[in-house]
């Protein structure tokens, strides 16, 4: 249920990558001022909404309603942030988001690496058909199973619990596809053959050879799954209640009320956005290269 709505795709270019890389080393030309200007505008557009929410989130209702447009923050952010933390079960939501996203991230990586290893490196009957099936399920919106999923979760008595959010998110066909592609390239067949000849069991090969080789790709997958799960709203919104929410579900409550104080709403937005912004600051480079690798891998 948390598969990224947009998945990295492989480039269709048939030419070998190596040659292209060397070509790539030849710089075409220096970037023009036009490119810089354009990118500065894009940068401003990326940052402005966040800055705006900090500006509004640091004022009080009267200052906002006075109607003066100003891009300078006020001094009320901590007060607003405290109000948000007091009105919402903020810490609980934060903890829940961390638990759910971590659990889903780790589990998806594990399941995908296992399946990806088998699809990429093992020979078995029905492999081709099953792989096509996996790819086909990427197009199947599991989201549409919400009606029966809800009925099932009700029967299990899971409504309102984090398990109801975690379990349906574990199915991630994209993850399997990703790890299959990754391991195909990262793990030379000869290595496996040699290990087989040496009498190593499949498990040993998986554990000692495939897993280490899969680590960079798995980390990337884990990161993207973590973010997708963290930002997911629809299903958690259905099964969780306001007393035990994830961050997006809690955030939603700031708006769905009888009087909306945007200084509080946007202070809440800033607070809720911080954890992923921190993740971004730490792992932004990895995210960038993850998307770009996903795009050229084939």
């Amino acid at each position: 249920m948390t598969a990224p709505t947009l998945v990295p795709v492989r480039a269709p270019e048939p030419t070998p990558a190596r040659r292209r890389l060397t070509r790539n080393a030849i710089r075409r030309s220096q970037a023009s001022p036009v490119a810089y200007t354009f990118l500065i505008i894009v940068l401003l557009a990326s940052v402005f909404p966040l800055w705006w929410s900090f500006v509004i989130g640091s004022k009080d209702a009267t200052a906002i309603n006075s109607g003066d447009v100003s891009l300078i923050p006020g001094g009320n952010f901590l007060v607003n942030a405290r109000t948000v933390v007091d009105t919402l079960p903020f810490w609980k939501a934060l903890a829940n988001s961390i638990i759910v996203s971590t659990a889903v991230g780790v589990a998806v990586v594990l399941l995908s690496t296992m399946a990806g290893f088998a699809f990429a490196k093992l020979r078995f009957r029905g492999k081709g058909v099953l792989l096509v099936f996996v790819i086909a399920t990427m197009a199947v919106p599991t989201q549409l199973g919400i009606v029966p999923l809800f009925i099932v979760m009700s029967k299990l008595g899971w409504i309102g619990s984090l398990g109801a959010v975690i379990v349906p998110s574990l199915v991630n066909a994209f993850g399997v596809f990703w790890m299959t592609q990754y391991l195909k390239e990262a793990l030379p067949d000869e290595l496996i053959e040699a290990a087989r000849v040496d009498g190593a069991s499949i498990f040993r090969i998986f554990w000692n050879i495939a897993l280490p080789a899969a680590r960079p790709g798995a980390a990337m997958l884990g990161l993207f799954t973590f973010i997708a799960t963290w930002t997911n709203f629809f299903w958690p919104f259905i099964v969780l209640d306001p007393g035990n929410p994830t961050l997006p579900v809690a955030l939603q409550q700031l708006q769905a009320r009888y009087y909306v104080d945007y200084s509080l709403v946007l202070a809440g937005v800033v607070l809720a956005a911080l954890p992923l912004i921190i993740v971004f600051a730490v792992a932004g480079r990895q995210l960038v290269s993850g998307i770009m690798q996903g795009a050229v891998k084939g």
């Binding site: 209702a61 009267t62 309603n65 006075s66 109607g67 079960p89 809800f150 979760m153 009700s154 008595g157 409504i159 309102g160 259905i238 099964v239 209640d241 306001p242 007393g243 409550q253 700031l254 769905a256 009320r257 009888y258 009087y259 909306v260 104080d261």
Partner: protein, 440 residues
């Protein structure tokens, strides 16, 4: 005939809390003569009084004003702990309520239900505890209790607050347009019928550019709440689209709001509606008791709000809620006790003082504490007195069937469409008809 051990809490200065220890007898009846002095006397099962700790959850929405009351309850009921979870709006609470009810688990021990969706849950009254108890006899006026009683006579919910309506207005704006602005004169000017209210509006419109009232939807709601039979017949037939009474209210409000341009066209609860409080958006609005708190919140820093002690058509109730105890609850007796205690007049008066939710309890109406309540930001209006007067004026209890909420929601959208300019009144009525038919 009954065995009761009572003790007063050390800190509860005014409230005597009663803990009941049963000795083999479960059929206890409270013998307090007046519920105003001894709230919440009721039966407690043997297990609970035996010292076992019980944790209850209470689910409310918006503002019930219970935050400070719960510690008080816990103090007087040392074996009970209460966790309070709040949804932001009635709609959100309803979604959650339905979801947990459907799931068969996860509901709070005590759930707040708004009067508009109470009829829906009465269909499933078997899933709720019958709260009939001597301790609450005569606590509410008949219309309040009737709405929470199912076909078999089981009392599903305890009334919390009610929404007696008055008219809130901006004295400064009236004054600027050359009209009187003190409460008595305004009440006289607005009169006691919809005709006089709208006529006053037209006088105002002739002298001011400010719209007279906020929205068609809100005004419609005040009017329809005075109609006995609206969308459904008592046998369950949907009559919304054929009922001349509904069409009449629709036409009247459209004429006043659109043809005569009295409406500010600000759909209630929308961002623009909220923001308009800071921008002289409109001069008057229908004002159930709980609306005072909403206006206060939205109109922070704005002076001039006041309340006129009158209401077109005499009186009307808009909103108000109930506390119910789902059968899912593992501690139905304690849950009932909590609901009983919270809905006792003393507690509801405190809630009124705190958030303006007007008590629906009969005994509360004559309470001096209630009468003393004034709201500073409303030109010191004696809201306690005014709403108490308006409360007594409520005579009609509109019949609300299981589809009331959905149909009324469709109607509100129909009115919004007219104000948005997306549909003509006639076309919007047709869409309303289609919506109602689609409910199936």
């Amino acid at each position: 005939m009954t065995t009761r051990a009572t003790r007063t809490t050390r800190t509860g200065t005014r409230y005597k809390a009663v803990a009941t220890v049963s000795i083999g007898l479960l059929a206890l009846s409270a013998c307090s003569s007046s519920s105003t002095t001894e709230p919440g006397a009721g039966s407690t099962p043997a297990g609970a009084a035996g010292g076992g700790q019980v944790t209850l959850t209470l689910a409310t929405f918006n503002q019930f004003g219970y935050e400070d009351l719960l510690p008080e309850f816990e103090k007087s009921h040392p074996n009970i702990k209460v966790t309070h979870k709040k949804a932001a709006t009635s709609n959100e609470a309803r979604d959650n309520f339905n979801t947990r009810l459907a799931a068969g688990s996860g509901m709070a021990d005590v759930e707040a239900v708004e009067v508009d969706w109470l009829p829906e849950i009465l269909q499933y009254s078997a899933k709720f505890t019958d709260l009939e108890n001597p301790s609450v006899d005569g606590r509410w006026p008949e219309w309040k209790t009737k709405a929470a009683t199912d076909a078999n006579g089981a009392l599903v919910g305890y009334g919390t607050d009610a929404g007696p309506e008055a008219i809130c207005y901006r004295g400064d704006l009236l004054k600027a347009a050359g009209f009187p602005s003190d409460r008595e004169s305004v009440a006289k000017w607005l009169g006691t019928s919809w005709e006089s209210y709208f006529a006053a509006g037209q006088q105002f419109a002739a002298k001011s550019k400010t719209p007279f009232f906020d929205s068609l939807g809100a005004t419609y709601q005040g009017m329809i709440n005075q109609v006995e039979k609206t969308y459904e017949d008592t046998d369950g037939t949907v009559i919304a689209t054929t009922n001349p009474a509904v069409r009449k209210v629709y036409d009247e409000v459209v004429k006043a709001g659109i043809d005569n341009k009295l409406s500010a066209k600000l759909q209630q609860w929308s961002d623009d509606w909220t923001a308009s409080y800071q921008k002289n958006g409109f001069a008057t609005m229908l004002c159930p008791g709980w609306m005072v708190g909403v206006i206060e919140g939205n109109a922070k820093g704005v002076k001039g709000w006041d309340i006129a002690n009158t209401f077109p058509g005499g009186g009307g109730n808009w909103g108000g809620s109930y506390l119910v105890v789902p059968k899912q609850s593992a501690h139905p007796a304690e849950a009932r006790e909590l609901a009983d205690w919270l809905t006792a007049p003393e507690q509801q008066i405190k809630a009124f003082q705190k958030v303006g939710a007007f008590p629906s309890q009969v005994a509360a109406q004559s309470s001096p504490e209630l009468a003393a309540v004034k709201v500073a930001s409303f030109n010191n209006a004696p809201t306690g007195q005014i709403f108490s007067d308006r409360f007594k004026g409520i005579s009609v209890s509109p019949f609300k069937g299981p589809k009331y909420f959905a149909i009324n929601d469709a109607m509100q959208k129909a009115l919004t469409r007219i104000e948005d300019g997306t549909s003509t009144p006639a076309a919007s009525w047709d869409k309303f008809t289609a919506d109602v038919q689609a409910l199936g």
